[in-house]
């Protein structure tokens, strides 16, 4: 009971997202999935320092360099090493050409794009190729038929796996929210046009559409693949956004905002979108999982980004030619499975944490 002029202290609690996080934390599996994805992000960010053949940091002829950045973009390789004819092999060249040089090496000396040759690393034999490359102490996940280390490939493939998810769903989310919001808020012929357009895109099987678009594109790259996945994956998000906007447009707080004089842009961005975001975020999370799967499928079919972008799916593709090399299937397959599972668990956790019906039940 409240006093008329002395309001009681309301129960203290944070905003909606603080509350959602509090509920999310109570789900150990969802939390573990979040930790796993966070760990993948760290791996992706530090991939060249984890596995590679280029020094993380080295001092050469009086200057400091970080040649490992070349794994992100070839242009980042310091020009001095090309002039001095290193040809991509650092350990011996550094010592021979500048005896005073020093270097910090990656944790795991293996290259994701080529086999390490004999004595490239002091005392290390050449990578085994083909059937001999099964997992061993020096190659925990084995090597592929050209002798390229699978672990190194997978570490560098993490970037692709994460980027595919975020970039393509970022694009799909943007398209979907804009189209859905316009249709749901404006109604009338705008809704008619956007809804029919969404349905038409939906009718075309996604993988067929992606394959067709991939065939048209000149010079395929990982970015173009992401763009294609994003440009075809927005339909579900658009439909859900439309529904949420349609529902919230009728709500009394939107009516109250209109009574205060708020315009349509303000109502959409400030009143409807924040309330619609939680339910939209759930399919986006699931979308990230399916984008990773789609990219893997494309790479497996050989329509993925061309080398040298290492993706987990392309490892599976390599496995196709030689079934005796089981390690080419098991490890990348496991990585894809765990990542997709994690995103699904995160999506589910998000749903449980933000679903208003479950919140009511808690009260």
């Amino acid at each position: 009971m409240e006093g008329s002029m002395t309001p009681t202290q309301p129960m203290r609690s944070g905003g909606f997202w603080a509350e959602a996080w509090r509920r999310y934390r109570r789900r150990p599996l969802a939390l573990a999935a979040l930790v796993f994805v966070g760990w993948l992000a760290v791996v992706a960010l530090f991939a060249p320092a984890i596995a590679g053949t280029k020094p993380v940091l080295c001092r050469y002829k009086g200057h400091l360099y970080a040649p490992c950045l070349a794994f992100f973009d070839r242009r980042l390789e310091p020009a001095v090493f090309a002039r001095d004819r290193f040809r991509g092999t650092y350990p011996q060249n550094l010592k021979e050409k500048d005896p005073d040089s020093w270097a910090i090496w990656p944790l795991f000396f293996q290259d994701p794009y080529r086999a390490v040759r004999e004595n490239e690393w002091p005392g290390r034999p050449a990578n085994p190729a083909r059937d001999e490359g099964h997992p061993s102490a020096s190659h925990p996940f084995g090597t592929d038929q050209y002798g390229v280390d699978v672990l190194a490939k997978m570490v560098h493939g993490t970037t692709v796996a994460l980027l595919v998810g975020f970039v393509s769903m970022g694009l799909a989310g943007t398209i979907g929210i804009v189209i859905g919001a316009l249709g749901g808020y404006c109604g009338g012929w705008v809704d008619m046009v956007t809804s029919r357009f969404t349905e038409i895109v939906m009718c075309i099987p996604t993988l067929v559409l992606i394959l067709a678009l991939t065939a048209i594109i000149e010079k395929p790259s990982i970015w173009k693949t992401m763009a294609i996945i994003g440009a075809t994956g927005w339909t579900g998000i658009a439909r859900l956004t439309r529904g949420e906007f349609l529902r919230l447009r009728q709500s009394e707080f939107v009516m109250a905002a209109r009574a205060a004089g708020a315009g349509p842009v303000r109502i959409m961005l400030r009143h409807i979108l924040p309330n619609a975001l939680a339910p939209i975020l759930v399919p986006i999370t699931f979308g990230i999982a399916s984008a990773i799967l789609t990219e893997s499928a494309l790479s497996f079919l050989g329509f993925g980004p061309p080398p040298p972008s290492a993706s987990w799916g392309s490892l599976l593709n390599d496995a196709r030619s030689n079934y005796s090399m089981w390690w080419l299937v098991v490890f990348p397959g496991l990585a894809i499975f765990l990542t997709v599972l994690s995103y699904n668990l995160i999506g589910e956790g998000l749903q449980e944490a933000t679903d208003p019906r479950l919140r009511e039940a808690r009260k």
Partner: protein
Amino acid sequence: MTAPLVEVEQLQTYFPIRRGLLRRVVGNVQAVDGVSFSIARGKTLGLVGESGCGKTTVGRSILRLVEPTGGRVAFDGLAVRDLRGRDLRNLRRRMQVVFQDPYGSLNPRMTVRALIEEGLIIHGLGSARERVDRVVRAMERTGLSRQALERYPHEFSGGQRQRIAIARALVLEPDFLVLDEPISALDLSIQAQVVNLLIELREQLGLTYLFISHDLSVVEHVSDEVAVMYLGRIVERATAAALYAQPLHPYTLALFSAVPTVDPARRRRRIVLVGDVPSPSNPPRGCRFHPRCPLAESVCREVDPPMVSLPEHAVHCHVAARELARSGGNASVAAATIAALLADRATPPTATLSPG
């Protein structure tokens, strides 16, 4: 008498019913059909009626939250229905609204401060610091403490939320408030507090209210004038004192008879209406109340009753018009006759279930 602040003439709000693939209009829900009234500055008009009779739509049409299909609405001499853009926005600062459900009318993602401040931002009133001052002043007016500023609506009880909603309406310093069932969703003990707060604010700030409710005793307490609505029309309008002392329309009588009272002297015979409210998409010919009216005559089925006006009382009813003419315009005699007639003819409560 000064010019009324709000004048509504023949207000009509229809909602189209669309069907089929091409969304063709196949009919209209005649939510409000020819409603007229006026409210003088500083006065309160109570609008009563059962659910679905269109009283909420009247309020929203005046505020242009739904677009009326016909009629005239004037606010302080401005033709509300013709306003566009900036003029409409300026008008919205002067007329505000408090909704029924304080759980639905406050955006759950905004803090109390953001909720109340928003109107000021939209209308570009004051600097950031002045705005906070105004927000705090509005909150103190409604009995909220400044500590509530950075909290979210879900942290408050229903009564406190309604205070937030009232503060949000007041911060723009409006002249006119539409109170759309502001207490119906609240606990009984809190209803009185909020009603008293509203009366207090009216006295302090010289506000004009349109008080929409289905609670007859609260309306009597708050209003200067009361209008009774049935199926999109006003059936009777009078000063609160006149209406409660001498109700003339059979529907008004039936409504009053449904109000529980503790005073045995005031206790009336319960008049139970038979049947349901007809659909507003297909209202009956003649008097809209005739299918349920115990006093209905053949003329009621054919002719829409015109308004009969006394100085403080107006009613749309053939029977009431006849009784008034017979008694020479004496409302209390006519009211007594109609009440007696109703008591005679109304179905006894044991025979049927009471609708609603």
